[in-house]
Every structure is written in structure tokens, then in C-alpha cells.
Symmetry: C2
């Protein structure tokens, strides 16, 4: 089974929810590599934020680094603004266990001490393993949903839900 | 102004919410020093957990360490079980900015990689500055609530709300 969502409608919903919580002169935005950066680029443009978009690569911070046998390419994170005292919107494509977000927060705090970090995701699929929550989510799914949800892109952005095969364990 | 809540009723509510999410043989619990340890002791006893209660002291992990001029006493954290693969309930008295919880998660991950960490608090007072959320909260207040909320104890436990003085800025 396979379902596609209309990503541009989802992004419009996020922009609507974010606008009252954003000050275009002050608020900064950071996308998590890869899918989160694509989503962040769209939001950053639509919201007209003045501060250049940041990018985080958390491959090296993952706590399951050794378990999943990652061979990360070296991609430097890029935070082109002073994090200290800043209101930051952290953007990812899919929120699942919360481990990526914990890693991303730690990397942000390596740069400085923000005033606040708000989390905006395209999909919150539930099943969190850590007490992490999305402030803004275009789509909230039940934690029991099996299969894989993946954002493909960058042009066009396409959100794919690959449901678990019958008889397989999600 | 000053209001007191009935802490034992609040604890009963937490036990009721936690019971279906707990396996007394496997689930472990960690309280955050000081108030979180008091709450955790009550929950740990009522839920009949077999694994000895853990205790975290996050004074040294606070990101505002230098700002608030803490002179922490040296109190060792004590996690008397293997964190790896464990389902853990993290307990604090009051959830406010979320910074203490971020620090507590980092300290837990210094010990190992838990299967999950569920956050249970007596009071979630809102006003979070990080995307941290309580899975279980006996009392959820509006983020705009001013003043100070403090758990006094250990015997009896008393939750004090010291509202901001008129004219003062919360």
C-alpha cells in the first residue's frame, strides 16, 4: 500500500500556524538535514524571515549511530547567526522517536543558549520514545501506524507512506 | 496570594495514569533532585516497582549555570540499574521551561541508551522554551500563569503557588 499527501497544502497549514508565533526581524529557523531542510526552505521563504536559514546535520550525534551502522558522509552543519538569546524554529520532516530532536537540541546548544526552540514538523507520526513534542505539525498520526513515512524531494516535495507489508512486523 | 493543592490526590491521579503504562518487573524510575525525588518515591512505592529508584542531580548540567549564579553542592546522581534497553519513567515536580528535562535526558544518556523515557510531573505549568512535553501531569496550568510554584517537603509534601506580587513582572 502506498499513499501520497499534498505537501504544498501541508506547508500552507504550517505557515498559517507559525505566522502568529514569528517575528520576521528576529526569529531564526534551522532545518534538519535532509528532509527538514527542504521543509524549512519553503517555510522560511513563505514567512519572509530575515535571518539566513540554518542547517543541522545530526548524523554524528545520533545515539543509535553504532546500532544502525551509519556511515555518515561528512556534511558540516551551518548556523549562520548567533544562537544566544535567539527564538529559533527547528524544522524536521517527520517526528518519530524523538531521538533526532534530542540530538539536534544538543547540537544547537553547542552553538549557544537560545531563548527558545519551537519544533515544527510536517508529520508527527507518534510512537515517541522520548518526552519530545512538536509545537506545530501539519499531520498527526496515531503512534500505532506501521510502515515508513518518507519525504522525497527536493523538487517536487513528495511525502510517501510505505505501509508495512502484510504479515511483516512494523 | 497563595494557594495550596492536595498533593496526595494529585499523586493518586498520577498513579492511576501511570499504572497501565508500567510493568512492575521491568520499568525503572528516576526522580530529579530535590522535589522530583520526593514525587518519585511516592509513585515508586504506590506502583510497586521492583527496580530500585534512581536519582538525578542535574545542577552541573544546567545551561543557565553561570547566569543564575548557582553554587551547587556536590551531590552525586545515583542510577542503580542498567539504563540500556530500559523503559524509564523520569519524574519531576514542576515542568516549566523544559531546560531541566533536557539536562536530565543528557545525564541519563551518559549512563546508556534507554528503550524509552516517559516524563511524569506533578505540575506542568506551561511556558515551555524547548519542545519538551510531559506524558503524565497531575495538573496542567496555562503558560501565562505568573509567580512561583514550589513543592515543599518531604513530610508532608506541600505544593505552594506564590503568585506574583501586584505590579511586579512575573
Amino acid at each position: 500500500m502506498n499513499a501520497d499527501w499534498d505537501v504544498s497544502s501541508l506547508l500552507e497549514g504550517m505557515v498559517r500556524d507559525l505566522r502568529p508565533r514569528v517575528d520576521p526581524e528576529q526569529t531564526a529557523m534551522i532545518g534538519i538535514f535532509t528532509g527538514g531542510v527542504w521543509v524549512a526552505q519553503a517555510l522560511h521563504h513563505a514567512l519572509g524571515l530575515n535571518t539566513a536559514l540554518g542547517r543541522l546535520d545530526i548524523s554524528f550525534y545520533r545515539d543509535d549511530f553504532s546500532q544502525i551502522g551509519l556511515h555518515p558522509q561528512v556534511r558540516a552543519s551551518d548556523i549562520p547567526f548567533d544562537v544566544n538569546g535567539r527564538s529559533i524554529i527547528l524544522v524536521d520532516d517527520v517526528l518519530y522517536t524523538g531521538r533526532t530532536i534530542r540530538a539536534a537540541l544538543n547540537e544547537i546548544f553547542d552553538y549557544g543558549r537560545p531563548a527558545s526552540v519551537l519544533l515544527a514538523v510536517l508529520v508527527d507520526r507518534g510512537g515517541h520514545e522520548l518526552p519530545v513534542s512538536a509545537d506545530i505539525a501539519a499531520l498527526r498520526l496515531n503512534g500505532a501506524t506501521g510502515g515508513q513515512i518518507k519525504l522525497r524531494g527536493p523538487d517536487p516535495l513528495r511525502l510517501e507512506w510505505l505501509a508495512a507489508a502484510p504479515g511483516s512486523v512494523a
